[in-house]
Symmetry: C2
Subunit: 235 residues, 2 copies
């Protein structure tokens, strides 16, 4: 049957787009992990690799965008599918920017490596923050894959925690700088890393919000965690 | 004629979406201007206003997103129109984030005001940077409005300038902090303002790139200024 055949192809196209989004998500997560590793272990080879790999993230964004446009143009998707496609278009923008933040961390790793390590910052807070944003990203992408909003509220909650951790890291860095002004330049680099991680958290939260919209048809962007919780829990 | 009638309505719908994008652009530009004003003149009323107005920016984003989905679902737009709509969806994400950055500047203005002004930073570099990103935003939105890519390359060039200004501002702030560690906290606030402005520049550049894609059908994201220039100049 022609119709069924076409419909199966259409399903395969939608599935392919979703698989590519998850591939892109896996890639940017690896970029975050490698960037942190490069920073902590002063590994120049790895920071170079992160920077070189950013083009793969970018290429995936462009490719998925094109796939989405083709599907819209040829398949005239119905409400639910269209919502999914629009949210994919938004999601990959956030994933691409997570990739950019990972690249920024890799650049700081390069600088730390070149600085001759007069002062080696402690990265405990940074590590904790990265642990959190990785979990946020995974939870958001898992919700996207399963179209299951149950855990999306956790992402919003963790985002608040990450924001608080960023502020704590900043207070600590100010203390270091006051105690020993020679640490100022390097402390600022660490601060930018913390800022990059905090942004990654924001992007993961955006993705979680898109999933709620995709599944529930309700826009929870620009609302509170409480409102988001209500939406996610409604049957 | 029914067909022409429908087509006119369709044109009006597309035109309405474009007008709303420009309205949103005007609003975020005003938010930037007010946030800077609040910061420089330690004007709490104005910083409160910027923060309160952010919901208007957010509401426009949600509304334009919905308009775009409706047009796609009902009108099945052809290639050129579809490209325009997809780029609108991307553009308003960047505009919304410019709004967020303006809000961040307004929050710093609040802090400066509450700090009792033990140390009042000089804002000359910040003012220059804001001048640049405003021009970038205007040029990008103007290109969007006219579907004219002639000046989009200027936006990419100015973005490089803004990035350099950010680095210069950072070096200067490090000097201040070294000379007088009591200025560290406030200098970091100024640094975050500079960072917010630098991000606004990035978003304006994104919008300019979307316009090139919309007009030329070629994706210039993730390319160099030189490549962008080539694309923009090709007939």
């Amino acid at each position: 049957m022609q119709l069924e055949h076409t419909s199966k192809q259409y399903d395969a196209e939608l599935e392919s787009v979703r698989a590519k989004v998850l591939e892109m998500g896996g890639l940017v997560e690896q970029q975050i992990v490698n960037a942190l590793d490069a920073l902590i272990n002063v590994n120049l080879t790895l920071s170079d690799k992160v920077i070189a790999n950013d083009h793969r993230v970018n290429a995936l964004e462009v490719q998925i965008d094109e796939d989405c446009s083709h599907i819209i143009a040829r398949r005239q998707p119905a409400a639910g599918d269209l919502r999914m496609i629009m949210m994919v278009v938004k999601t990959i923008t956030d994933l691409e920017r997570i990739g950019d933040e990972a690249t920024k961390i890799a650049r700081v790793a390069q600088k730390v490596s070149e600085s001759g390590r007069l002062y080696t910052p402690r990265f405990n807070e940074i590590k904790t923050m990265v642990g959190h944003v990785r979990e946020m990203l995974r939870t958001a992408l898992d919700a996207f894959a399963r179209l299951d909003v149950t855990k999306t509220v956790d992402v919003a909650r963790q985002d608040e925690q990450v924001d608080e951790q960023f502020r704590a890291a900043m207070r600590q860095l100010i203390t270091f700088m006051l105690e020993d002004p020679r640490t100022i330049s390097m402390s600022l680099e660490v601060l930018f890393v913390a800022k990059a991680i905090e942004r990654i958290g924001d992007h993961a939260k955006n993705i979680a919000e898109y999933v709620i919209y995709m599944v529930k048809g309700k826009d929870v962007r620009h609302t509170t965690v409480q409102e988001m919780e209500r939406e996610a829990q409604e049957p």
